[in-house]
């Protein structure tokens, strides 16, 4: 009955200007649902990020210019003092040297070995899953545990490595005293944990290479090695670049391994293996100088950005020399995803 009464009011205006019937509360709720829901779904991430990501980053910049008082939890503005102190500190430069040395000793062999292992896994081998899992095994072990195992194996007096060296007629190496040997030992821990992981990433890139390319190369008379250098390497270039960049980001932040390398955790009596992050930790939670620690954090961040960019430029050029420069947008975004993934994994 009500419908017949309403009918004329709805019908008459034909064209576009027909007024909408008033929305029921259900419809309104539905509209609100559609409009608000997306924001509600992404809100938790942004709230968490604002609290534990954005705020600390901004606040680091503030604290870095202050002499922070831990008791009152406030600071006093001191300008560039913290930065000036850090830049003039010998310990900072030593830790910078160590960080770079360890980073080079870990990333260069790591990428080379990972590429070789990936190429082996890319062959038509039996028991693929077994080999792939085996290669990944060290990744699940905590860096702290790895550090304890390897600092034992690299023991100065009774370590396994030294006794092997003695057995083959070489003299012992002071792994916990000398600078370069300690870097080698720490780099070994990093390599142990990450080489297999990177090999799997490179393997995935290799499997995406169209097999006709290999067949064509073989018909043209290319042998195994030629195929590897002329087909495989150029094809996995984008992935390679991002593996290198992520190991840079991770490598420059290394903390667990040097901290656990000896019982004192101070990076050696003469800062032989003290890294920047360890220096940051010692300043912040050893000396409780938060202002200076924040300044170190910023310096570290700038270094990482600079090296990352430099790295990108260099690797781009190095690997590009041999390739057909096929930079499809797709492959670049793909490797970007992986790059991000790796970083989180660390």
């Amino acid at each position: 009955m009500t419908t017949t009464q309403q009918k004329p009011s709805v019908e008459p205006p034909p064209g576009k200007n027909r007024p909408h019937p008033p929305l029921t509360w259900r419809q309104r709720l539905g509209r609100l649902d559609v409009k608000l829901s997306p924001y509600l779904y992404i809100a938790p991430f942004w709230i968490v990020f604002a609290l534990v990501g954005l705020f600390p980053i901004i606040y680091t910049a503030v604290i870095a210019f202050q002499d922070w008082d831990l008791v009152r939890n406030t600071g006093e503005f001191t300008g560039w003092d913290n930065f000036a102190y850090v830049v003039q500190d010998r310990e900072f430069w030593l830790s910078l040297r160590n960080t770079f040395s360890i980073f080079l000793l870990s990333s260069v062999p790591q990428v080379i070995v990972a590429t070789i292992i990936a190429a082996m896994l890319d062959k038509n081998i039996r028991a693929k899953t077994f080999w792939r899992m085996g290669v990944l095994l060290p990744y699940v072990v905590a860096p702290v545990a790895v550090a304890l195992i390897f600092s034992n194996m690299f023991g100065d007096r009774y370590g396994l490595v030294n006794s092997v060296l003695n057995d083959i007629g070489l003299s012992s190496i002071a792994w916990h005293v000398d600078v370069i040997p300690s870097h080698i030992a720490i780099a070994t821990m990093v390599n142990f944990r990450w080489t297999g992981y990177n090999a799997l990433i490179l393997l995935a890139a290799m499997q995406a290479i169209p097999r006709d390319l290999y067949e064509a190369a073989a018909i043209d008379g290319a042998g195994t090695f030629r195929r590897f250098f002329s087909v495989t390497l150029p094809q996995i270039r984008p992935t390679m670049i991002f593996v290198i960049i992520t190991s840079t980001i991770g490598g420059l932040q290394i903390f667990d391994e040097p901290r656990m390398y000896d019982t004192n955790g101070q990076g050696g009596s003469n800062h032989q293996w003290e890294t920047i992050t360890l220096y940051l930790y010692k300043t912040g939670w050893g000396e409780f100088n938060f202002g200076r620690a924040a300044a170190i954090a910023w310096i570290l961040f700038l270094i990482i950005v600079a090296i990352g960019m430099l790295n990108f430029a260099v690797t781009q050029r190095l690997i590009a020399t041999d390739s057909v420069a096929r930079k499809t947008k797709k492959s670049r975004t793909a490797s970007k995803a992986k790059h991000i993934k790796k970083e989180v994994g660390k």
Partner: protein, 301 residues
């Protein structure tokens, strides 16, 4: 990322033209030379050997490490050493184990749920500013953790959370990587028609997510859980800074163990193995998932 199962090898699946030259056919199907297995085997041994070595030391006594004629067979003291480690009040083994389980599981679950929600919104829902916000998510991934570590600590002090596992869980509730990962997966694997069908049938937004979005995202969610779990289980620096020695996670308790027993490596390495066993078990059951997760993230993403 479209499939969880590892991609089938094109060499074995692709139909082979009959009249290709022999060389080409050989590249495609040839079983590899034995040196390939040799290289892989050497690498595998190098990956496993440190564990065996730790077990050798951990199953001996404090003198094993100094013994020039050390046997390559394990001794019989492992359980005894493990019991010593577990029984040491300074190490707090059970508490550390419990805390590690709590932290890893909680952050794993919250990361998966919150990332799936946000990823679903970014991938399938249209709203103002979605592109800018997604770029914002990606940008946050590039910032190293250490940059904010000092204010984060001050924040936890203000909350009065230092020393409690909440201080470890809160920063890891959800990660930008997780959001990005789920966005990528859902946008590729969930047909928009399904969502529309559910909406036409009268599902509210959240019901649509629950009954359509979530089931479709399950494989990627499982991998995300695994990665988050492993990362948090192994996380050291932040828990080490913010937790007390009385209330540690496993990596933190390992550092205490090292400080306490630096003369007795059999105990230190027994502790290392104890802390590692849970993850090795996880790896045995879910290692395949981890492998395909890493490879899927590399290929697409």
């Amino acid at each position: 990322m479209t499939t969880v199962t590892e991609p089938r090898n094109p060499r074995t699946t692709a139909p082979r033209p009959k009249r290709r030259k022999r060389a080409a056919a050989a590249v495609a199907t040839m079983r590899p030379h034995w040196t390939v297995y040799a290289v892989l085997a050497v690498f595998l041994v190098a990956s496993v050997f440190p564990f065996y070595w730790s077990f050798l030391i951990a199953s001996g006594d404090r003198f094993t490490i100094n013994d020039p004629n050390m046997s390559w067979w394990p001794g019989g003291n492992f359980l005894e050493n493990a019991a010593t480690v577990i029984g040491n009040p300074a190490v707090n083994f059970w508490k550390a184990l419990w805390n590690s389980i709590v932290v890893s599981t909680t952050t794993g679950v919250t990361t998966v749920v919150l990332s799936t929600l946000a990823g679903y919104a970014f991938a399938k829902l249209r709203f103002k500013g979605s592109n800018a916000l997604l770029i914002g998510v990606i940008a946050t991934m590039a910032v190293p953790v250490q940059l904010g570590i000092v204010p984060l600590y001050i924040l936890m002090q203000e909350f009065g959370w230092t020393g409690s596992v909440g201080a470890v869980i809160l920063p890891a509730l959800v990660t930008a990587f997780g959001v990005f990962w789920m966005t990528q997966y859902i946008s590729q694997s969930l047909p928009t028609e399904l969502i529309e069908a559910a909406r036409v049938d009268g599902c509210s937004m959240i019901r649509t997510f629950w009954h359509v979005g979530l089931p479709a995202a399950r494989p990627a969610a499982a991998m995300l859980f695994l990665f988050t779990f492993v990362t948090q289980w192994n996380n050291f620096m932040w828990p080490y800074i913010v937790l007390d020695p009385q209330n540690p996670t496993l990596p933190v308790s390992l550092s205490i163990l090292q400080a306490n027993y630096f003369v007795d490596y059999s105990l230190v390495l027994a502790g290392v193995l104890l802390a590692t066993v849970p993850l090795l078990l996880l790896f045995m059951f879910a290692g395949k998932q981890l492998v395909s997760g890493i490879m899927a993230g590399a290929v697409k993403g």
